[in-house]
Protein backbone atom coordinates (compact mmCIF):
# COMPACT_ATOMS: atom_id res chain seq x y z
CA UNK A 1 0.00 0.00 0.00
CA UNK A 2 1.20 3.50 -0.85
CA UNK A 3 0.37 6.27 1.59
CA UNK A 4 1.09 9.91 0.77
CA UNK A 5 1.14 12.26 3.76
CA UNK A 6 0.55 15.94 3.00
CA UNK A 7 2.82 17.98 5.24
CA UNK A 8 2.86 21.74 5.52
CA UNK A 9 5.59 23.87 6.98
CA UNK A 10 4.16 26.54 9.27
CA UNK A 11 5.48 29.14 11.73
CA UNK A 12 5.96 27.55 15.15
CA UNK A 13 2.82 28.17 17.20
CA UNK A 14 4.95 28.39 20.34
CA UNK A 15 6.27 31.76 19.19
CA UNK A 16 4.61 35.04 18.36
CA UNK A 17 3.54 34.87 14.74
CA UNK A 18 3.36 37.93 12.52
CA UNK A 19 1.46 39.00 9.45
CA UNK A 20 2.92 41.46 6.99
CA UNK A 21 0.59 44.45 7.38
CA UNK A 22 1.04 45.48 3.76
CA UNK A 23 0.27 42.14 2.12
CA UNK A 24 -1.59 40.22 4.82
CA UNK A 25 0.78 37.31 4.13
CA UNK A 26 2.66 35.36 6.75
CA UNK A 27 5.88 36.92 7.88
CA UNK A 28 7.99 33.82 7.43
CA UNK A 29 10.88 35.36 9.34
CA UNK A 30 8.89 36.13 12.49
CA UNK A 31 8.90 32.62 13.93
CA UNK A 32 10.82 29.41 13.27
CA UNK A 33 9.21 27.29 10.60
CA UNK A 34 8.38 23.70 11.52
CA UNK A 35 6.24 20.82 10.27
CA UNK A 36 2.73 21.46 11.49
CA UNK A 37 2.18 19.22 14.51
CA UNK A 38 -1.04 17.83 13.02
CA UNK A 39 0.92 16.60 10.00
CA UNK A 40 3.41 14.85 12.28
CA UNK A 41 0.48 13.00 13.80
CA UNK A 42 -0.75 12.05 10.31
CA UNK A 43 2.74 10.81 9.44
CA UNK A 44 2.89 8.86 12.69
CA UNK A 45 -0.26 6.96 11.82
CA UNK A 46 1.17 6.13 8.38
CA UNK A 47 4.42 4.95 9.98
CA UNK A 48 2.53 2.70 12.38
CA UNK A 49 0.92 0.97 9.41
CA UNK A 50 4.36 0.58 7.87
CA UNK A 51 5.74 -0.79 11.16
CA UNK A 52 3.06 -3.47 11.15
CA UNK A 53 3.23 -4.16 7.44
CA UNK A 54 6.61 -3.88 5.72
CA UNK A 55 5.05 -3.69 2.26
CA UNK A 56 3.77 -0.19 3.02
CA UNK A 57 5.37 2.78 1.26
CA UNK A 58 5.13 6.17 2.94
CA UNK A 59 5.70 9.36 0.92
CA UNK A 60 5.78 12.87 2.42
CA UNK A 61 4.60 15.61 0.06
CA UNK A 62 4.75 19.35 0.53
CA UNK A 63 4.15 22.46 -1.50
CA UNK A 64 6.24 25.35 -0.22
CA UNK A 65 9.36 27.46 -0.59
CA UNK A 66 12.94 26.18 -0.57
CA UNK A 67 13.01 26.06 3.19
CA UNK A 68 10.10 23.59 3.28
CA UNK A 69 12.65 20.94 2.31
CA UNK A 70 13.56 20.94 6.01
CA UNK A 71 10.07 19.74 6.83
CA UNK A 72 10.51 16.92 4.32
CA UNK A 73 13.92 16.08 5.79
CA UNK A 74 12.31 15.72 9.19
CA UNK A 75 9.56 13.50 7.77
CA UNK A 76 12.22 11.30 6.16
CA UNK A 77 14.18 11.07 9.39
CA UNK A 78 11.01 10.02 11.21
CA UNK A 79 10.66 7.14 8.76
CA UNK A 80 9.02 8.20 5.49
CA UNK A 81 10.54 6.37 2.49
CA UNK A 82 10.67 9.28 0.06
CA UNK A 83 9.47 12.83 -0.40
CA UNK A 84 7.97 15.09 -3.03
CA UNK A 85 8.61 18.84 -2.95
CA UNK A 86 6.47 21.04 -5.16
CA UNK A 87 8.66 24.10 -5.51
CA UNK A 88 7.93 26.96 -7.86
CA UNK A 89 8.23 30.73 -7.54
CA UNK A 90 4.84 31.10 -9.20
CA UNK A 91 3.26 29.46 -6.12
CA UNK A 92 4.24 32.23 -3.73
CA UNK A 93 1.17 33.45 -1.89
CA UNK A 94 -1.00 30.67 -3.39
CA UNK A 95 -4.47 30.53 -1.84
CA UNK A 96 -6.21 27.32 -0.76
CA UNK A 97 -7.73 26.80 -4.20
CA UNK A 98 -4.42 26.99 -6.03
CA UNK A 99 -2.67 24.93 -3.34
CA UNK A 100 -5.27 22.17 -3.63
CA UNK A 101 -5.24 22.16 -7.43
CA UNK A 102 -1.44 21.85 -7.38
CA UNK A 103 -1.37 19.13 -4.72
CA UNK A 104 -4.06 17.20 -6.60
CA UNK A 105 -2.02 17.32 -9.80
CA UNK A 106 1.09 16.14 -7.96
CA UNK A 107 -0.84 13.32 -6.27
CA UNK A 108 -2.13 12.23 -9.65
CA UNK A 109 1.40 11.93 -10.93
CA UNK A 110 2.74 10.21 -7.80
CA UNK A 111 -0.12 7.75 -7.40
CA UNK A 112 -1.37 6.48 -4.02
CA UNK A 113 -3.85 4.27 -2.22
CA UNK A 114 -4.37 6.59 0.72
CA UNK A 115 -3.68 10.29 1.30
CA UNK A 116 -3.34 11.43 4.91
CA UNK A 117 -3.56 15.11 5.85
CA UNK A 118 -4.23 17.32 8.85
CA UNK A 119 -7.80 18.47 9.49
CA UNK A 120 -6.62 22.08 9.52
CA UNK A 121 -3.31 23.89 9.40
CA UNK A 122 -2.30 26.10 12.32
CA UNK A 123 -1.39 29.07 10.14
CA UNK A 124 -4.34 29.19 7.76
CA UNK A 125 -6.86 27.29 9.89
CA UNK A 126 -8.91 26.94 6.72
CA UNK A 127 -9.43 23.19 6.90
CA UNK A 128 -10.41 23.07 3.25
CA UNK A 129 -7.38 21.94 1.23
CA UNK A 130 -7.91 18.16 1.68
CA UNK A 131 -11.60 18.38 0.68
CA UNK A 132 -10.66 20.45 -2.37
CA UNK A 133 -8.05 17.84 -3.31
CA UNK A 134 -10.68 15.12 -2.87
CA UNK A 135 -13.05 16.97 -5.20
CA UNK A 136 -10.35 17.43 -7.85
CA UNK A 137 -9.57 13.72 -7.70
CA UNK A 138 -13.24 12.68 -7.35
CA UNK A 139 -12.41 10.70 -4.23
CA UNK A 140 -14.09 10.10 -0.88
CA UNK A 141 -12.84 12.11 2.07
CA UNK A 142 -13.00 10.83 5.62
CA UNK A 143 -12.36 14.12 7.40
CA UNK A 144 -11.79 15.15 11.02
CA UNK A 145 -11.13 11.63 12.25
CA UNK A 146 -10.36 10.79 15.84
CA UNK A 147 -9.34 7.25 14.89
CA UNK A 148 -8.94 5.25 11.69
CA UNK A 149 -8.54 1.69 10.41
CA UNK A 150 -6.64 1.53 7.15
CA UNK A 151 -6.76 -1.87 5.47
CA UNK A 152 -6.23 -3.16 1.96
CA UNK A 153 -9.21 -2.06 -0.05
CA UNK A 154 -11.08 -0.05 2.57
CA UNK A 155 -10.78 2.60 5.25
CA UNK A 156 -13.03 3.33 8.16
CA UNK A 157 -12.87 5.75 11.01
CA UNK A 158 -14.62 7.79 13.64
CA UNK A 159 -15.31 11.39 12.67
CA UNK A 160 -15.70 14.18 15.22
CA UNK A 161 -19.00 15.82 14.41
CA UNK A 162 -20.82 18.64 16.12
CA UNK A 163 -22.96 16.98 18.81
CA UNK A 164 -21.18 13.63 18.73
CA UNK A 165 -19.17 11.32 16.53
CA UNK A 166 -19.95 9.37 13.35
CA UNK A 167 -18.64 6.04 12.13
CA UNK A 168 -17.75 6.36 8.46
CA UNK A 169 -16.14 4.21 5.77
CA UNK A 170 -15.06 4.28 2.13
CA UNK A 171 -13.26 2.18 -0.44
CA UNK A 172 -9.73 2.96 -1.67
CA UNK A 173 -8.27 5.17 -2.91
CA UNK A 174 -9.40 7.71 -0.33
CA UNK A 175 -8.27 10.81 1.53
CA UNK A 176 -8.28 10.98 5.32
CA UNK A 177 -7.71 13.91 7.67
CA UNK A 178 -6.67 13.41 11.26
CA UNK A 179 -7.36 15.53 14.34
CA UNK A 180 -5.28 16.03 17.47
CA UNK A 181 -6.89 12.96 19.00
CA UNK A 182 -4.41 10.94 16.96
CA UNK A 183 -1.30 9.91 18.90
CA UNK A 184 1.68 12.22 19.17
CA UNK A 185 4.47 11.58 16.72
CA UNK A 186 7.71 9.72 17.39
CA UNK A 187 11.03 11.57 17.47
CA UNK A 188 13.51 10.84 14.71
CA UNK A 189 16.23 8.51 16.03
CA UNK A 190 19.91 8.63 15.16
CA UNK A 191 19.64 5.99 12.46
CA UNK A 192 16.64 7.80 10.98
CA UNK A 193 18.55 11.07 10.80
CA UNK A 194 21.50 9.39 9.07
CA UNK A 195 19.45 7.45 6.52
CA UNK A 196 17.21 10.46 5.74
CA UNK A 197 20.11 12.02 3.85
CA UNK A 198 20.13 9.14 1.38
CA UNK A 199 16.38 8.98 0.78
CA UNK A 200 15.00 10.31 -2.52
CA UNK A 201 13.37 13.74 -2.68
CA UNK A 202 11.66 14.55 -5.98
CA UNK A 203 11.31 18.25 -6.76
CA UNK A 204 8.40 19.13 -9.03
CA UNK A 205 7.78 22.44 -10.72
CA UNK A 206 4.33 23.62 -11.77
CA UNK A 207 5.20 23.23 -15.45
CA UNK A 208 5.83 19.53 -14.84
CA UNK A 209 2.27 19.16 -13.56
CA UNK A 210 -1.09 19.59 -15.17
CA UNK A 211 -2.64 22.17 -12.90
CA UNK A 212 -5.99 23.44 -14.15
CA UNK A 213 -6.08 27.23 -14.35
CA UNK A 214 -8.55 28.97 -12.08
CA UNK A 215 -10.24 32.27 -12.76
CA UNK A 216 -10.98 32.75 -9.09
CA UNK A 217 -8.69 33.59 -6.20
CA UNK A 218 -8.85 35.09 -2.74
CA UNK A 219 -7.33 38.50 -2.05
CA UNK A 220 -6.50 40.26 1.19
CA UNK A 221 -8.32 43.58 1.48
CA UNK A 222 -6.82 44.87 4.73
CA UNK A 223 -4.76 43.73 7.72
CA UNK A 224 -4.96 45.47 11.08
CA UNK A 225 -2.97 44.58 14.18
CA UNK A 226 -4.68 44.70 17.55
CA UNK A 227 -2.84 46.22 20.46
CA UNK A 228 -1.66 43.48 22.83
CA UNK A 229 -3.46 43.03 26.17
CA UNK A 230 -1.95 44.52 29.26
CA UNK A 231 -1.71 42.65 32.54
CA UNK A 232 -4.02 43.88 35.30
CA UNK A 233 -4.01 43.32 39.07
CA UNK A 234 -2.19 40.33 40.51
CA UNK A 235 -2.75 39.32 44.14
CA UNK A 236 -0.83 36.76 46.12
CA UNK A 237 -3.44 34.80 48.05
CA UNK A 238 -3.25 35.40 51.79
CA UNK A 239 -6.69 33.94 52.45
CA UNK A 240 -8.64 37.00 51.33
CA UNK A 241 -8.06 36.90 47.56
CA UNK A 242 -11.25 34.92 46.86
CA UNK A 243 -13.33 37.64 48.51
CA UNK A 244 -11.54 40.37 46.61
CA UNK A 245 -12.17 38.56 43.35
CA UNK A 246 -15.85 38.12 44.18
CA UNK A 247 -15.98 41.87 44.89
CA UNK A 248 -14.25 42.62 41.54
CA UNK A 249 -16.79 40.46 39.70
CA UNK A 250 -19.70 42.17 41.43
CA UNK A 251 -18.37 45.70 40.80
CA UNK A 252 -17.82 44.87 37.14
CA UNK A 253 -21.27 43.27 36.88
CA UNK A 254 -19.81 39.95 35.90
CA UNK A 255 -21.96 37.88 38.27
Amino acid sequence: MKIVVLVKQVPDTAEERKLDLATGQLGRESADNVIDEINERALESALRIKDANKGTEVVAMTMGPDEASQALRKALSMGADSAVHILDDSLEGADTGRTAATLAAALRSTGFDVVLAGNESTDGRAGVVPAMVAEHLQLPLLGSLISAEIADGAVSGVRQGDGGTLNVHAGLPAILTVTERFPEARFPNFKGILTAKRKPVATLSVSALEVPASASRTVVVSTVERPPRAAGRKLIDDGTAANELAEFLVVNRLV
Binding site: S156, G164, R226, A231, L245, L249
Partner: protein, 323 residues
Protein backbone atom coordinates in the same frame (compact mmCIF):
# COMPACT_ATOMS: atom_id res chain seq x y z
CA UNK B 1 -31.24 42.35 -4.09
CA UNK B 2 -28.83 39.51 -4.86
CA UNK B 3 -29.42 36.02 -3.55
CA UNK B 4 -27.21 34.54 -0.87
CA UNK B 5 -27.27 30.81 -0.13
CA UNK B 6 -26.90 29.54 3.44
CA UNK B 7 -26.34 25.82 4.01
CA UNK B 8 -28.43 24.93 7.06
CA UNK B 9 -27.14 21.98 9.09
CA UNK B 10 -29.79 19.62 10.38
CA UNK B 11 -28.80 16.93 12.87
CA UNK B 12 -29.64 13.33 12.10
CA UNK B 13 -32.39 13.70 14.67
CA UNK B 14 -33.89 16.50 12.60
CA UNK B 15 -32.91 19.51 14.72
CA UNK B 16 -31.92 22.75 12.99
CA UNK B 17 -28.40 23.67 14.18
CA UNK B 18 -28.12 26.61 16.59
CA UNK B 19 -25.50 28.13 14.26
CA UNK B 20 -28.23 28.75 11.65
CA UNK B 21 -29.22 32.01 13.35
CA UNK B 22 -25.81 33.67 12.86
CA UNK B 23 -25.51 32.17 9.38
CA UNK B 24 -28.79 33.78 8.31
CA UNK B 25 -27.83 37.10 9.93
CA UNK B 26 -24.70 37.07 7.73
CA UNK B 27 -26.74 36.06 4.68
CA UNK B 28 -29.26 38.86 5.27
CA UNK B 29 -26.38 41.36 5.60
CA UNK B 30 -25.23 40.42 2.11
CA UNK B 31 -28.53 39.98 0.29
CA UNK B 32 -31.70 37.94 0.22
CA UNK B 33 -31.15 34.73 2.26
CA UNK B 34 -31.98 31.39 0.72
CA UNK B 35 -31.70 28.50 3.19
CA UNK B 36 -30.46 25.31 1.55
CA UNK B 37 -31.56 22.27 3.53
CA UNK B 38 -30.86 18.61 2.81
CA UNK B 39 -33.12 16.00 4.38
CA UNK B 40 -34.41 12.51 3.69
CA UNK B 41 -38.05 13.54 4.24
CA UNK B 42 -39.78 16.72 3.02
CA UNK B 43 -39.40 19.53 5.56
CA UNK B 44 -41.98 19.69 8.33
CA UNK B 45 -44.09 22.86 8.61
CA UNK B 46 -42.38 23.62 11.93
CA UNK B 47 -38.97 23.70 10.25
CA UNK B 48 -40.23 25.96 7.48
CA UNK B 49 -41.72 28.33 10.06
CA UNK B 50 -38.54 28.27 12.15
CA UNK B 51 -36.28 29.08 9.18
CA UNK B 52 -38.60 31.95 8.28
CA UNK B 53 -38.33 33.27 11.85
CA UNK B 54 -34.55 33.10 11.47
CA UNK B 55 -34.74 35.21 8.32
CA UNK B 56 -34.79 32.82 5.34
CA UNK B 57 -36.70 34.48 2.50
CA UNK B 58 -36.72 31.21 0.60
CA UNK B 59 -35.94 27.61 1.41
CA UNK B 60 -34.35 25.33 -1.15
CA UNK B 61 -35.31 21.94 0.23
CA UNK B 62 -33.32 19.07 -1.28
CA UNK B 63 -34.88 15.73 -0.45
CA UNK B 64 -32.73 12.65 -0.95
CA UNK B 65 -32.38 9.20 0.60
CA UNK B 66 -28.63 9.93 0.82
CA UNK B 67 -29.19 12.50 3.60
CA UNK B 68 -27.86 10.98 6.79
CA UNK B 69 -26.24 8.03 5.04
CA UNK B 70 -23.70 9.64 2.70
CA UNK B 71 -21.14 12.07 4.14
CA UNK B 72 -21.26 15.71 2.90
CA UNK B 73 -21.85 14.82 -0.79
CA UNK B 74 -25.63 15.44 -0.67
CA UNK B 75 -25.00 18.96 0.67
CA UNK B 76 -22.53 19.67 -2.16
CA UNK B 77 -25.00 18.38 -4.75
CA UNK B 78 -27.80 20.49 -3.28
CA UNK B 79 -25.63 23.61 -3.14
CA UNK B 80 -24.41 23.25 -6.70
CA UNK B 81 -27.99 22.89 -7.96
CA UNK B 82 -29.03 25.91 -5.93
CA UNK B 83 -26.09 27.89 -7.31
CA UNK B 84 -27.33 27.15 -10.82
CA UNK B 85 -30.91 28.01 -9.99
CA UNK B 86 -30.35 31.22 -7.99
CA UNK B 87 -27.01 32.60 -9.23
CA UNK B 88 -26.11 33.82 -5.75
CA UNK B 89 -23.64 36.57 -4.88
CA UNK B 90 -22.22 34.33 -2.14
CA UNK B 91 -22.66 30.96 -0.47
CA UNK B 92 -22.36 30.62 3.31
CA UNK B 93 -21.76 27.50 5.37
CA UNK B 94 -20.94 27.03 9.04
CA UNK B 95 -17.26 26.55 9.91
CA UNK B 96 -17.89 22.96 11.07
CA UNK B 97 -16.25 19.87 9.59
CA UNK B 98 -19.34 19.32 7.42
CA UNK B 99 -19.64 22.98 6.44
CA UNK B 100 -15.98 23.36 5.52
CA UNK B 101 -15.86 20.21 3.45
CA UNK B 102 -19.03 21.20 1.59
CA UNK B 103 -17.63 24.70 0.95
CA UNK B 104 -14.30 23.28 -0.27
CA UNK B 105 -15.86 20.83 -2.71
CA UNK B 106 -18.34 23.43 -3.95
CA UNK B 107 -15.48 25.84 -4.68
CA UNK B 108 -13.79 23.27 -6.91
CA UNK B 109 -17.06 22.32 -8.58
CA UNK B 110 -18.21 25.88 -9.32
CA UNK B 111 -14.82 27.55 -9.84
CA UNK B 112 -15.27 29.70 -6.74
CA UNK B 113 -13.00 30.41 -3.78
CA UNK B 114 -13.35 29.80 -0.05
CA UNK B 115 -13.02 32.53 2.58
CA UNK B 116 -12.61 30.47 5.76
CA UNK B 117 -13.44 31.02 9.42
CA UNK B 118 -15.25 34.31 8.88
CA UNK B 119 -16.31 36.37 11.91
CA UNK B 120 -18.11 39.25 10.15
CA UNK B 121 -19.27 40.15 6.64
CA UNK B 122 -20.03 43.30 4.68
CA UNK B 123 -20.38 44.44 1.08
CA UNK B 124 -18.24 47.12 -0.47
CA UNK B 125 -19.61 48.40 -3.81
CA UNK B 126 -21.21 45.05 -4.43
CA UNK B 127 -18.11 43.04 -3.45
CA UNK B 128 -18.54 40.56 -0.59
CA UNK B 129 -15.90 41.26 2.06
CA UNK B 130 -15.19 38.77 4.85
CA UNK B 131 -13.51 39.55 8.16
CA UNK B 132 -11.25 37.05 9.94
CA UNK B 133 -9.73 37.05 13.40
CA UNK B 134 -6.20 35.72 12.91
CA UNK B 135 -3.63 34.33 15.37
CA UNK B 136 -5.99 34.43 18.31
CA UNK B 137 -7.30 37.89 17.54
CA UNK B 138 -3.85 39.49 17.17
CA UNK B 139 -4.88 40.58 13.67
CA UNK B 140 -8.12 41.46 11.96
CA UNK B 141 -7.89 40.61 8.28
CA UNK B 142 -10.43 41.35 5.56
CA UNK B 143 -10.51 39.29 2.40
CA UNK B 144 -12.53 38.98 -0.77
CA UNK B 145 -12.75 36.80 -3.86
CA UNK B 146 -11.41 38.05 -7.16
CA UNK B 147 -13.34 36.38 -10.01
CA UNK B 148 -15.76 33.57 -9.23
CA UNK B 149 -18.19 32.74 -6.46
CA UNK B 150 -17.28 33.71 -2.86
CA UNK B 151 -17.93 30.78 -0.50
CA UNK B 152 -17.68 31.72 3.17
CA UNK B 153 -17.46 29.45 6.20
CA UNK B 154 -18.85 31.36 9.17
CA UNK B 155 -17.32 30.82 12.64
CA UNK B 156 -19.95 29.54 15.06
CA UNK B 157 -21.02 32.01 17.70
CA UNK B 158 -19.19 34.92 16.02
CA UNK B 159 -22.14 36.73 14.48
CA UNK B 160 -24.75 38.08 16.85
CA UNK B 161 -28.25 39.38 16.34
CA UNK B 162 -31.23 38.13 14.46
CA UNK B 163 -32.22 38.61 10.83
CA UNK B 164 -35.67 40.11 10.14
CA UNK B 165 -38.29 37.35 10.33
CA UNK B 166 -40.08 36.36 7.14
CA UNK B 167 -42.45 33.75 5.85
CA UNK B 168 -40.27 31.60 3.67
CA UNK B 169 -41.29 30.30 0.23
CA UNK B 170 -40.28 26.68 -0.21
CA UNK B 171 -38.89 25.09 -3.39
CA UNK B 172 -38.45 21.37 -3.16
CA UNK B 173 -36.02 19.37 -5.28
CA UNK B 174 -35.89 15.61 -5.19
CA UNK B 175 -32.31 14.39 -5.61
CA UNK B 176 -31.11 10.88 -6.33
CA UNK B 177 -28.65 9.31 -3.94
CA UNK B 178 -25.18 9.73 -5.38
CA UNK B 179 -22.62 7.62 -3.58
CA UNK B 180 -19.76 7.63 -6.09
CA UNK B 181 -16.68 9.30 -4.65
CA UNK B 182 -18.23 9.78 -1.22
CA UNK B 183 -17.81 8.27 2.23
CA UNK B 184 -20.65 6.34 3.82
CA UNK B 185 -22.04 7.04 7.30
CA UNK B 186 -22.50 3.82 9.26
CA UNK B 187 -23.65 5.19 12.59
CA UNK B 188 -24.16 8.35 14.67
CA UNK B 189 -22.93 8.33 18.26
CA UNK B 190 -24.55 11.26 20.02
CA UNK B 191 -22.80 12.90 22.93
CA UNK B 192 -24.81 12.29 26.07
CA UNK B 193 -26.74 15.45 26.89
CA UNK B 194 -25.49 16.02 30.40
CA UNK B 195 -25.93 19.63 31.26
CA UNK B 196 -28.11 22.64 31.01
CA UNK B 197 -25.00 24.83 30.86
CA UNK B 198 -24.67 27.41 28.10
CA UNK B 199 -22.98 26.48 24.85
CA UNK B 200 -19.22 27.17 24.99
CA UNK B 201 -18.88 29.16 21.74
CA UNK B 202 -21.54 31.73 22.53
CA UNK B 203 -21.48 31.79 26.36
CA UNK B 204 -21.15 35.14 28.13
CA UNK B 205 -19.01 33.53 30.81
CA UNK B 206 -16.56 30.64 30.45
CA UNK B 207 -14.73 28.83 33.24
CA UNK B 208 -11.85 26.67 32.01
CA UNK B 209 -9.71 24.13 33.80
CA UNK B 210 -6.19 22.96 33.04
CA UNK B 211 -3.69 20.34 34.05
CA UNK B 212 -3.55 22.00 37.48
CA UNK B 213 -6.83 20.28 38.34
CA UNK B 214 -4.82 17.07 38.63
CA UNK B 215 -7.55 14.47 38.04
CA UNK B 216 -10.94 13.96 36.37
CA UNK B 217 -12.54 13.88 39.84
CA UNK B 218 -11.05 17.24 40.76
CA UNK B 219 -12.45 18.77 37.60
CA UNK B 220 -15.73 19.08 39.50
CA UNK B 221 -14.20 22.24 40.99
CA UNK B 222 -14.43 23.84 37.55
CA UNK B 223 -18.06 22.76 37.30
CA UNK B 224 -18.91 24.23 40.69
CA UNK B 225 -17.51 27.65 39.80
CA UNK B 226 -19.11 27.47 36.35
CA UNK B 227 -22.50 26.80 37.90
CA UNK B 228 -22.12 29.59 40.44
CA UNK B 229 -21.43 31.95 37.52
CA UNK B 230 -23.89 30.43 35.05
CA UNK B 231 -20.92 29.71 32.81
CA UNK B 232 -19.96 27.28 30.07
CA UNK B 233 -17.04 24.93 30.69
CA UNK B 234 -13.79 25.01 28.76
CA UNK B 235 -10.40 23.37 29.14
CA UNK B 236 -6.77 23.45 28.08
CA UNK B 237 -5.42 20.82 25.72
CA UNK B 238 -3.43 19.28 28.57
CA UNK B 239 -6.67 18.78 30.54
CA UNK B 240 -8.31 17.19 27.49
CA UNK B 241 -5.28 14.97 26.80
CA UNK B 242 -5.32 13.86 30.45
CA UNK B 243 -8.96 12.83 30.06
CA UNK B 244 -10.44 15.30 32.55
CA UNK B 245 -13.03 16.44 30.03
CA UNK B 246 -14.24 15.92 26.45
CA UNK B 247 -12.22 17.25 23.54
CA UNK B 248 -15.10 19.48 22.47
CA UNK B 249 -14.34 21.68 25.51
CA UNK B 250 -10.82 22.52 24.33
CA UNK B 251 -10.16 26.23 24.03
CA UNK B 252 -7.26 27.47 21.94
CA UNK B 253 -5.31 27.37 18.72
CA UNK B 254 -6.62 23.98 17.72
CA UNK B 255 -9.80 24.08 19.78
CA UNK B 256 -12.69 26.47 20.14
CA UNK B 257 -12.16 30.26 20.02
CA UNK B 258 -14.22 32.13 22.58
CA UNK B 259 -14.79 35.85 23.19
CA UNK B 260 -16.93 35.97 26.33
CA UNK B 261 -17.53 38.86 28.74
CA UNK B 262 -15.67 36.89 31.41
CA UNK B 263 -13.11 34.11 31.05
CA UNK B 264 -11.81 32.36 34.16
CA UNK B 265 -8.69 30.16 33.84
CA UNK B 266 -8.11 27.70 36.65
CA UNK B 267 -4.79 25.83 36.83
CA UNK B 268 -3.91 26.82 33.26
CA UNK B 269 -0.38 28.05 32.53
CA UNK B 270 -1.51 30.17 29.58
CA UNK B 271 0.64 28.74 26.79
CA UNK B 272 0.49 30.87 23.65
CA UNK B 273 -1.68 28.21 21.97
CA UNK B 274 -4.24 28.42 24.77
CA UNK B 275 -4.25 32.22 24.75
CA UNK B 276 -4.95 32.12 21.01
CA UNK B 277 -8.44 30.86 21.84
CA UNK B 278 -9.42 33.25 24.65
CA UNK B 279 -7.40 36.46 24.68
CA UNK B 280 -10.19 38.44 23.03
CA UNK B 281 -12.37 37.90 26.12
CA UNK B 282 -13.57 41.18 27.65
CA UNK B 283 -12.33 40.35 31.15
CA UNK B 284 -9.86 37.59 32.03
CA UNK B 285 -9.42 36.14 35.51
CA UNK B 286 -6.69 33.61 36.31
CA UNK B 287 -5.90 31.54 39.36
CA UNK B 288 -2.56 29.76 39.28
CA UNK B 289 -0.04 28.87 41.97
CA UNK B 290 2.92 29.79 39.77
CA UNK B 291 3.33 33.55 39.88
CA UNK B 292 5.31 33.48 36.64
CA UNK B 293 2.60 31.66 34.68
CA UNK B 294 2.13 33.49 31.33
CA UNK B 295 -1.65 33.54 31.81
CA UNK B 296 -1.10 36.45 34.21
CA UNK B 297 0.28 38.53 31.32
CA UNK B 298 -3.22 38.73 29.84
CA UNK B 299 -5.29 38.57 33.05
CA UNK B 300 -7.23 41.60 34.30
CA UNK B 301 -7.42 39.99 37.72
CA UNK B 302 -4.92 37.32 38.74
CA UNK B 303 -4.61 35.36 41.95
CA UNK B 304 -1.37 33.59 42.75
CA UNK B 305 -2.75 30.79 44.85
CA UNK B 306 -3.93 27.22 45.12
CA UNK B 307 -7.15 26.59 43.21
CA UNK B 308 -8.16 23.99 45.79
CA UNK B 309 -8.31 26.63 48.53
CA UNK B 310 -9.28 29.73 46.50
CA UNK B 311 -12.06 28.32 44.30
CA UNK B 312 -14.27 26.84 47.07
CA UNK B 313 -14.09 30.18 48.92
CA UNK B 314 -14.85 32.04 45.71
CA UNK B 315 -17.91 29.87 45.08
CA UNK B 316 -19.14 30.62 48.61
CA UNK B 317 -18.47 34.35 48.25
CA UNK B 318 -20.34 34.50 44.92
CA UNK B 319 -23.29 32.60 46.36
CA UNK B 320 -23.37 34.88 49.42
CA UNK B 321 -23.36 37.99 47.22
CA UNK B 322 -25.99 36.80 44.80
CA UNK B 323 -28.41 35.98 47.65
Amino acid sequence: MSNVLALIEISHRGEIAASSRGLLVAAATLGSPIAVVVSSEPLADDDVARLGELGAARIYSAVTPAAGTVLVAPAVDALSRAVEAYEPAAVLTTNTADGREAAARLAVRTGGSVLADVVQVRTDNGTVVAQHSVFGGAYTVESAVDGGLPILTIRQGAIEGQAPATTADVSTAVMEATTAGAAVIDRFNDDPVVSARPELRSAATVVSGGRGLGSPENFVLVEQLADALGAAIGASRAAVDAGYIAQTAQVGQTGVSVSPQLYVALGISGAIQHRAGMQTAKTIVAINKDEDAPIFDVADFGIVGDIFTVVPKLVEAIKARSN
